[in-house]
């Protein structure tokens, strides 16, 4: 899945960059959730009770 969106030029030639690919939004959200879960597991398993 591309990071960007492109539009075809009506004059031919290369596609033109028109913005970010918003289809990636769920993946960005999932990355945040995955980090939180991974950190929570790490804290529970590797450093239980340790502050910070």
């Amino acid at each position: 899945m591309s990071l960007f969106r492109y539009a075809s030029s009506i004059y031919g030639g290369n596609d033109t960059l028109i913005g970010a690919n918003y289809g990636l939004l769920p993946w960005f959200a999932l990355a945040g959730v995955a980090f939180a879960i991974a950190h929570a597991i790490f804290k529970a398993v590797a450093a239980p009770g340790k502050p910070g």
């Binding site: 990071l3 960007f4 969106r5 033109t16 960059l17 028109i18 913005g19 970010a20 690919n21 918003y22 990636l24 939004l25 960005f28 959200a29 990355a31 945040g32 959730v33 980090f35 939180a36 950190h39 929570a40 804290k43 502050p51 910070g52």
Partner: protein, 203 residues
């Protein structure tokens, strides 16, 4: 004010003005993300006006914060120093290495989204000017939109991480300090190195 003289054993961590800045910025960013992404997710409404006005509010807030951090706060409290790198898990000053890295990342993202947003403002009719879609070339507009969109999505990731840490029980004292302004003297002693954060200087 020294630690011994603080009322009820409390140490001021965030002044009211800084807490107000934090929550106003949070509200502005959430409004910006909601007005940006809900239409993309299928909920159609007149979002452009709310979005650019809120973007302008965010810009003013961030300018205020930069001026305040540079001239009225201890600017270096948030900067990564040698001690952070030599002993990243030692007791920190006011902010630990992870918080400083987060602040650095969020600074880059927010400044990027503001810079590109201000450019995109040129494509919106406002009381100050009429839109001019030919102000930049098609390729340049594409780059501006791409950066703005990618950064906005990255902000979603960062906010989820931020809320996660704010809700962790072992970080509640920091969350409380962003609501009420203070941490207890015990929390100060347990979590901070007084040589690196002299609370009486920060209050």
């Amino acid at each position: 004010m020294t630690l011994a003289s603080t009322p009820a054993g409390r140490v001021q961590r965030h002044k009211l003005v800084d807490r107000a800045y934090h929550w106003l910025m949070a509200a502005a960013v959430l409004i910006l993300l909601v007005t940006a992404f809900l239409p993309i997710l299928g909920l159609k409404f007149e979002w452009v006006g709310i979005h650019w006005v809120t973007g302008l509010v965010l810009t003013v807030l961030v300018l205020f914060h930069i001026i305040r951090a540079c001239f009225f706060q201890n600017f270096w409290a948030m900067m990564i120093d040698g001690t952070d790198l030599k002993a990243p898990f030692a007791k920190p000053g006011k902010y630990d290495l992870a918080q400083k890295l987060y602040h650095l990342a969020i600074s880059v993202l927010v400044l990027s989204v503001i810079a590109t947003g201000l450019l995109m403002w040129r494509k919106v009719d406002t009381p100050f000017w009429q839109r001019d879609p030919y102000w930049l070339s098609t390729e340049s507009w594409g780059l501006v939109y791409a950066v703005h969109g990618l950064v906005a999505m990255a902000l979603v990731t960062m906010i989820i991480i931020h809320v996660y840490f704010a809700l962790r029980p072992d970080e509640w004292h920091l969350t409380r300090s962003m609501l009420k302004g203070w941490i207890t003297s015990k929390e100060y002693q347990d979590h901070h190195d007084p040589r690196r954060w002299q609370a009486k200087d920060e209050a």
